[in-house]
């Protein structure tokens, strides 16, 4: 018995302590490397999508999750230095080009008395004062030159800050150009996400007013930017432009959202049958103005055509907009307009691809991801799609990504850098980034 106990007791004690210090698998940090890239000093130039603009305004939290800042965060894991952005005040309600505040998700009661979740402005007015206050600091040169509204052709224009206050508030001087400021700190590595702004105002306005930058000017200006950035041997990534008409701003309201009861259909038929247009019970294409459509210049929308989110929905629901009163041109994109827009995107992308080849740069393709978001992707157990609000990738304006969306777009840039330069820059874990906040 003694013999047994003399073995039993130490064995029991040994097993107990082993169990308490229970062995854990060892975490070995995967190797990271900049490859052929020198990540020391990183700058990014782009438009609103680069700046951190989201929920239809530039504001502090959005800027924290800007594509430029997210990319810099990953590059800092392979030797990149401190990164500075022209932050809005941290308690600011944000501001957009029309002086309005950011959107949040709240409740809105429509003309029928139905209250539902809807984007609403955070405040009655935007932080216009912040737009007028210059935050340039020579000792902390900015790395994020994402400027809402900046076209490719505007990047090297001197005194651009006078025309565009989003640059004016961060420019080094009244006469400065974005390209001058961006190259002043001798970047060793760069990212360009330019071109969306060359078409966005036109497309967002229903292809009614203004134009898109013509391809020759676009190409020339783009190449000049790349030349200036690479003159000292800097390497970087340029990005193709996504088809913005695949974004929720354009895809949320269906072309045939005119759902009619038999009575409604009959009363519309009474109005329209004389000019050869008829309606039926159930879904019908909205009525739009189209100068090319017969003698009266009105017609049904057809499959593939897009109704914009700027459409006043109360007018649709209660005041017969889109039926008795056809949509004005500014609220829709017709097949003809879409063909022109998509052809222009293809031309921009051909120009960017050619420049990437000539200057031996990495080429990011976030356009492929934007395209996939239409059907939806599953990312680490989360479904992300272009569905307005609930899709989880776009902010409440339906045109700019939310922080999680910016993270998956940034991963496309990282993928391009890794494959071009043999780098091992870790991707971002996008589920760690906020999506849409629900009340």
């Amino acid at each position: 018995m003694k013999q047994v106990l003399s073995i039993l007791i130490p064995v029991l004690i040994g097993m107990g302590s082993l169990a308490l210090n229970s062995c854990k698998p060892k975490y070995e940090k995967p190797e990271t490397s900049a490859g052929e890239l020198n990540a020391t000093r990183f700058v990014m130039i782009g438009g609103s999508h680069t700046s951190g603009y989201m929920d239809d305004a530039l504001y502090y939290e959005g800027q924290q999750y800007s594509i430029a800042n997210l990319l810099s965060g990953q590059l800092q894991k392979v030797g990149s230095g401190a990164f500075y952005q022209a932050y809005m005040p941290d308690n600011s309600v944000g501001v957009n080009g029309q002086g309005m505040s950011r959107l949040k998700l709240g409740y809105k009661t429509d003309c029928l008395g139905v209250t539902s979740l809807s984007p609403v402005r955070l405040a009655s007015g935007g932080d216009v004062a912040a737009l007028g206050a210059n935050v340039y600091n020579a000792s902390q040169p900015f790395g994020n030159f994402g400027i809402p509204g900046m076209t490719v052709t505007a990047v090297s224009i001197p005194s651009y800050g006078i025309a565009n206050p989003f640059y004016g508030r961060m420019s080094s001087s009244m006469s400065a150009s974005v390209l001058g400021d961006a190259t002043a700190s001798d970047p060793t590595c760069f990212a360009l996400f330019l071109g969306i702004e060359d078409m966005l105002p036109y497309v967002q306005g229903g292809a009614k007013n203004g134009t898109m930058t013509n391809t020759a000017n676009f190409s020339m200006a783009y190449e000049q930017i790349v030349q200036s950035l690479t003159v000292n041997g800097a390497k970087g990534v340029v990005s193709l432009i996504p088809d913005i008409t695949e974004m929720p701003y354009f895809t949320t309201i269906p072309y045939n959202g005119l759902n009619l009861t038999p009575d409604k259909a009959a009363s519309l038929n009474a109005i329209y049958n004389p000019i050869g247009i008829s309606f039926q019970e159930g879904p019908n294409g909205f009525m739009i103005q189209d100068p090319l459509a017969g003698a009266f210049g009105v017609r049904h929308m057809v499959a593939g055509e897009l109704v914009l989110l700027s459409t006043p929905l109360d007018s649709v629901k209660c005041h017969s907009m889109g039926s008795v009163f056809p949509f004005r041109d500014e609220f829709v994109l017709t097949l003809d307009e879409l063909a022109i827009i998509r052809a222009q995107i293809a031309e921009y992308n051909a120009a960017i691809t050619a420049i990437a080849t000539t200057y031996n740069l990495a080429l990011a393709k976030p356009n492929e991801l934007v395209n996939k978001l239409q059907a939806g992707i599953v990312y680490n157990g989360v479904t992300l799609s272009a569905k307005f609000v609930s899709g989880g990738a776009y902010s409440l304006d339906g045109l700019h990504f939310n922080p999680r969306g910016n993270a998956i777009i940034s991963n496309e840039f990282i993928r391009a850098l890794n494959s071009k330069y043999g780098a091992k820059i870790p991707a971002i874990n996008a589920v760690n980034y906020p999506s849409v906040i629900f009340p």
Partner: protein, 407 residues
């Protein structure tokens, strides 16, 4: 006998169980020291689990209880970001308890009751881990109650059969990707109790004084959750989209066919070998059927597509003295989880394990056994449903203790 019933009752009330997409063969500390093999043995009451056919050859009445706390740690390394996340699973507590009786007037007949925990797991990941929208915690518990009859046909053959009443409980939790104003996420918790039935059949053949063979079949048990309780914590504006309410589900616990052999040198050495064929193919789909569906809350059917697998287990017992036995063993099991289907709930891979044990015979009535189990599992995969991609590494250890009283 009344005391016995009480003992079982208190054990089952406090004890849960553990495994990872795999059966827990922690049933009898002697076998646990010898690589979890022992289907051909008929030495003690643990034969009620290992081979009801061997029960008839056990010479004495016996009460036998064992407990093997499992300490398991899983590390997941996300392949895209390189970030690592760990589990904080609670200690698993598989147990087994056996009672075996013979009759003076009918020596070839034995009856017994086995209460044990052959399947189950509790796995809980650290907060805010990358897969939290796939799973944050899964606790599966099952306890089998198996009344058994065993009959010795002659000196060479024994046959036994047990009826299995399986009770179980499930608790599945994950985050929902909708955010509160403070940035935290919605959460879903599905809980339910399950019930299932099955049987355990066994044949034991004593070829001669050295060799024995065993063949057993434990049937599949379909654990049905008939009235689960789904609870959702979401922002107020979405509460109508995620109604709390009942759900139904079911989980198959697979059949196990085992062929085992043993060799006894006479005095000092004993060797055992088991081959399991586990019918995991039964686990094809994990489905949840919610009583009230909404656009956000639809019934789910997740493909699991497990495949049948084979596992090899073997070990040796060395009788060092009249009182002390030393045991060593090990095994290899193929994973039932196919590529593309590895989930955080069951981060399974092919596994190799080793075991060791000590046996103490205090007197002719009272025995104590100690065992130790170690396993290491590594699996890299991209799940087709969630696109979670990375490497799961699991280390599990289990020290066990068992006591038996024979008369």
């Amino acid at each position: 006998m009344q005391k016995l019933v009480l003992l079982f009752f208190s054990l089952s009330a406090v004890i849960s169980i553990y495994s990872q997409g795999f059966q827990v063969n922690f049933q009898g500390q002697k076998q646990q020291g010898m690589g979890l093999a022992g289907t051909a043995l008929s030495e003690d009451a643990s034969a009620l689990f290992y081979n009801p056919g061997g029960v008839a050859f056990v010479k004495k009445n016996e009460i036998n209880a064992g407990f093997s706390p499992i300490f398991a740690n899983t590390l997941f390394v996300d392949s895209a970001s390189g970030e690592g996340y760990r589990t904080k699973s609670p200690m698993g507590t598989p147990f087994s308890a056996y009672a075996l009786f013979g009759f003076k007037k009918m020596e070839s007949l034995k009856v017994g009751l086995a209460v044990y925990t052959p399947f189950g797991s509790t796995i809980q990941y650290e907060d805010e881990w990358i897969g939290r929208f796939a799973l944050t915690k899964l606790s599966l518990k099952s306890i089998y109650f198996q009344p058994t009859v065993s009959y010795k046909i002659n000196e060479h053959f024994g046959f036994g059969a047990g009826f299995i009443i399986a009770t179980g409980a499930v608790d599945l939790q994950k985050d929902i990707p909708v955010q509160f104003a403070d940035g935290t996420y919605g959460h879903a918790e599905l809980t339910g109790k399950a019930l299932g039935f099955g049987y355990n059949l066994g044949l034991n053949a004593k070829i001669n004084e050295h060799f024995s063979l065993g063949l057993t079949y434990r049937s599949k048990v379909s654990m049905e959750v008939k009235e689960g309780d789904a609870k959702f914590t979401v922002p107020e504006s979405l509460s109508a989209n995620f109604p709390n309410g009942p759900f139904t589900s079911s989980l198959p616990l697979p059949s196990v066919l085992t062929l085992g052999g043993s060799y006894n040198s006479g005095k000092k050495w004993q060797f055992v070998l088991d081959i399991n064929y586990v019918g995991w193919k039964a686990y094809d789909t994990l489905a949840f059927d919610y009583e009230s569906n909404t656009a956000s809350l639809i019934d789910t059917k997740s493909a699991r597509k497990y495949k049948d697998i084979i596992a090899f287990r073997g070990g040796a017992n060395f009788q060092a003295s009249g009182m002390i036995a030393v045991r060593l063993g090990g095994g290899f099991g193929f994973s039932p989880v196919q590529s593309g289907y590895v989930t955080p709930e069951s981060p399974d891979g092919n596994r190799i394990y080793g075991t060791a044990g000590l046996g103490f015979k205090f007197n002719e009535h009272f025995n104590a056994d100690l065992s130790f189990y170690y396993t290491y599992i590594k699996r890299t995969d991209r799940n087709q449903e969630t696109n979670l991609q990375g490497t799961f590494t699991t280390i599990a250890i289990s020290p066990g203790i068992g006591l038996s009283y024979k008369w």
